[in-house]
Symmetry: C2
Subunit: 324 residues, 2 copies
Amino acid sequence: MHSFKELSELFEQHFTGRQFPAQPEHLYNAAQYILSIGGKRIRPVLVFMGNELFDELHPDALHVAQAIELFHNFTLIHDDIMDKAPLRRGKATVHKTYGESTALLAGDVVLVQAYEQLTKVRSSILPNLLTLFNKTAKEVCEGQQLDMDFEQKEQVAIDEYTEMIALKTSVLLAGSLQMGAVIGGAGLGNQQHLYAFGKNLGIAFQIQDDYLDVFGDPAKFGKQRGGDIIANKKTFLQIHATTHATGADQQALNYWMKEQPEQPDEKIAAVTDIFRRTGADAWANGLKEQYYRKAIEHLDAIAVVSSRKNELRNLAEFLMMREH
Amino acid sequence: MHSFKELSELFEQHFTGRQFPAQPEHLYNAAQYILSIGGKRIRPVLVFMGNELFDELHPDALHVAQAIELFHNFTLIHDDIMDKAPLRRGKATVHKTYGESTALLAGDVVLVQAYEQLTKVRSSILPNLLTLFNKTAKEVCEGQQLDMDFEQKEQVAIDEYTEMIALKTSVLLAGSLQMGAVIGGAGLGNQQHLYAFGKNLGIAFQIQDDYLDVFGDPAKFGKQRGGDIIANKKTFLQIHATTHATGADQQALNYWMKEQPEQPDEKIAAVTDIFRRTGADAWANGLKEQYYRKAIEHLDAIAVVSSRKNELRNLAEFLMMREH
């Protein structure tokens, strides 16, 4: 069994270098560009960890890890087009660099490349993995659509928002783990517990992300505090506050959610105060704790010797303790 | 063995009705919309014909036929976004109806649905079919990129243009036939001849398409004559004329290729005359004939009783005889 760091390095060894042909140059340079921007490679490591929970690392895990990371990058290219985002991890997005048409097509070709990696696994588990992959891929698209739909809605219920977050981000984490488990030869019951671990952990992670954006230490978080508030983004905190604010707070929140001041400090301070007064911060921490506990319950329920679970338990703890 | 018409009806029986879930509504309505616009369903019928050339129709042919038609519709959605096309078969395009972001995402989900159909085939041929499908999918993307690249180029050689056409349109026809052949249990040699038949026929078809746009009978062709000339599109005729025109014709062609007159009749007449004087019309007919003959040679070389080839021979003749 290997640590997160070791698995992440193993993945990078196989993922650096050009993944695409030379020609047509624009198309494949654009596809390669998104991969070169890098990232934490959490999802491919989850494939490895799902495999190692049940058995020695199998070569198929490397194919699936690459398929998953390629899929993730496909979603980044297309999401950035839809969101008209100029930057991704501090670098110009693909469509800003290569134009929207080539970026769109590069996204398509990265998705096909993901399926090409998947096709390399031994044929006995191929149908199972493909079915899981397709289900996950559709759910991620559904999550992105709901996210766009919610931008147009005045009010979104917390359950709807949680469902959107689960589809848009958690199911890919959960699916990565489950595909690893399939490679490791896990039975369906164990696969499902591991999937539920990943799904609940993913939601807890997003709640934490929303929380840190407002209440985190900017020096540690690495982003400007209040970015979601400036962008009028729906978040766990924002939805809770909108539902629970009354009187002057309700009016102020409505006002600020439509306001785009050039100097945003006053807005951030005002909305943060409303979040505090409505108890959104304590509520979010409690909710995160609930999802985290649920995740750990599912990890506990997996029928393998407890020591094999150490790396996943460490990862979950690390993700929840983070201040950035 | 069945006729084109019978196979086309068989396909429609299974392809009508909603292919997608109800929710998220915008996403899946957009995906369903492109399917409802219809089309000639040539590619799924080619899957059936490829199967029937070697054996009785197998249920897998229906899965693959649907996968191919879904893939084709995915390319239509994304190509229309890239081309900023307002209309597709006389109806508003998906992005005009649902917006660019939802159209982009709907294209993605239609592609995933194609893979989902493919996943249903028996596992003994799944790896082979997936590999073929992925190869074809990447080539179609490459063709679209080259097409966009060529728009920016002053001069394109006939070989480059033919390669682009082969990737953008022919390989999907050829791949459909070969995937049918795999389902029918054909050996690799026969598969390759059938693929080459489809690829050469596809190029012949495109030459004919370019020819009919200028010299066809508008009443039969169903489109305005000279549409490609108005749009300054590179075609087999245009590239031949650009290479062979001299003196005043060369100057006139250069002039018209940059001109966008409100009344295009004069432009169409002038360019058509240059095509005639440079012999582009006779040259195109000869080139079409060459590709058609090559296609038939490959069909002849397939090692099955000749009578099994009748439907494909009829189809090829019909496509070459068409005036529309």
